[in-house]
Symmetry: C2
Subunit: 317 residues, 2 copies
């Protein structure tokens, strides 16, 4: 029961208050796949250039990520350069070089066409639609997006949302797309556009999941050393979507809530280093350990009052 | 087992994207006291001018808030004017008229001196220290502050923190005071300055509570109609501090976690209207009802895996 993902593979150059890294492995498909691989087999459709370092293939293969859909073009690999200042919640893009993504077509290998779970990681909605058209009745379709596509391809994005089960986006994107400031209202607005599940990612402030039946809110994992937030949203998506897909109970409330926490946990590890450095050392035990710790960080007892709060009642309870 | 609070009483003029209100009842002591009164008897030390409307006294008295420490001066009542734009999390101050607060001295009536619980709501640290000096060995001392005092009275504030058990402040204030961006680290830094408990309020993003023994993180209540955030932080403090004080178990982990949720609930009601309009219609049953609903909004099951996440394991669990 695999997941097929389409998205970007990037060589990122990043500056944070704590250090810098040049041309390190990144991209939405990369982070999503790597995080997802802890829960489910993953198949990738993406493109790299002739300059893509061999060692990165090895890293992805070491997690059994299937690369049959990886197009190796003659040009250069997509590059992104960004910096974070005191607000680690939002990156400032310094440069984007599309390179091989300029003419990228989402070509799905024949033996991938019946993959039951499809995730459209952040890439143009035209490409996301193209990939979806090539698939044979997937059971679960998820997608992510970004501010650029909301501004430049709103029609494609709206067409896509009608065909998506689970839609993940960050809080500023939710506000941009709906024109609604209140995130709970924004989530309900997005549910009217097609998705059965909407997840609004708030970075260091956690996440909101909404369906037509219930709403779930979670803080972020309290990470003390946020080193580089790049890819955290994609790792959240990978942990969320893959831990949900493997249950087979895609719209089950318990499974959806649990998957938000797996997404939160995967993102919390990823921010502790540049690129995939932390995830490449991550074990299943650490994931389950942090899930349990998160339960402790967020636990509180019921109010335990049966009738009234009137002064004195609380003291006796 | 009362709470004595010192802070401001204001006539607020507020503009939000949803409406405006002129010269409505506000101020840190007002919001704190009103929210706290649902849990504990409250005694107020504050000042108003000769222009303070009689009806506001009635509103406070209707919650049995003791006003023996209220100084009625000949001048004008403190006034604050602010506006909120799309970001409802932070107010833009348009004007501040100190008026009677200019020469306000925190004079504690004799029969208030042995009040066991003291809350120093947002007002100058010099005034907060003056009030604390007048008290007879309180069992629990809490305080709040704001950006202005961090910038103008850092020495007084640091002196004060050595004498405070519970310190509440918002996220930008925590960053300003510590110079630390990461809020978990900032909380631990603040714990070194005296308080046994630090609560960082994040508005629509929830709250973090830290002691030397544990850390608790909570999202905000998912309010759909945030009408006016003014006073939300003071209502959080009132619900938090009063629900904690009445238990008598001030540093008990279960009590502290529960009190964060009562603070969250009180703030969530307050943002639904201008001034005290919503709180003045609030019932104990509504408070307990929203506490229970919050439990549902945030609940998730344990991961429920005993050995490994490896693909397929989740599906069988």
């Amino acid at each position: 029961m695999s997941i097929l993902v389409v998205g970007s593979i990037a060589l990122d150059t990043i500056k944070t208050p704590f250090g810098q890294a040049a041309e390190v492995l990144g991209g939405s498909a990369t982070y999503f796949s790597y995080a997802a691989s802890f829960f489910s087999p993953v198949r990738m459709v993406a493109a790299v250039g002739a300059d893509f370092p061999q060692k990165h293939f090895q890293l992805l293969k070491s997690r059994n990520i299937s690369l049959d859909g990886l197009q190796k073009d003659t040009g250069k690999t997509f590059r992104w350069s960004g910096s974070y200042e005191t607000d680690m919640n939002s990156a400032k893009t310094l440069a984007t070089e599309l390179n091989v993504l300029q003419d990228f077509r989402a070509i799905v290998p024949k033996h991938y066409v019946d993959t039951p779970h499809v995730f459209l990681a952040n890439i143009g909605p035209n490409t996301q639609l193209e990939l979806l058209d090539a698939m044979d009745k997937p059971k679960l379709v998820g997608c992510d997006t970004m501010n650029l596509w909301i501004a430049t391809q709103p029609d494609n994005l709206n067409r896509l949302l009608k065909r998506v089960d689970v839609f993940l986006l960050n809080e500023s994107e939710a506000r941009q797309l709906t024109g609604i400031t209140n995130l709970i209202k924004a989530a309900y607005d997005l549910l009217k556009r097609g998705p059965k599940v909407v997840v609004i990612k708030k970075g260091e402030h956690g996440a909101i999941l909404a369906t037509r039946e219930f709403c779930f809110v979670a803080p972020a994992y309290p990470v003390e050393d946020v080193f580089d937030p790049t890819g955290a949203g994609d790792c959240f998506a990978g942990g969320f979507f893959a831990s949900l897909a493997v249950t087979g109970r895609y719209f089950d409330e318990t499974a959806l809530r649990r998957s938000v926490i797996f997404g939160t946990v995967m993102a919390s590890f990823n921010v502790e280093s540049f690129s995939l450095d932390r995830l490449s050392r991550l074990t299943d035990e650490e994931i389950l350990g942090r899930y349990s710790k998160f339960k402790k960080f967020t636990h509180f007892e019921p109010a335990d009052h049966t009738t009234s709060l009137s002064p004195g009642i609380l003291a006796q309870s």
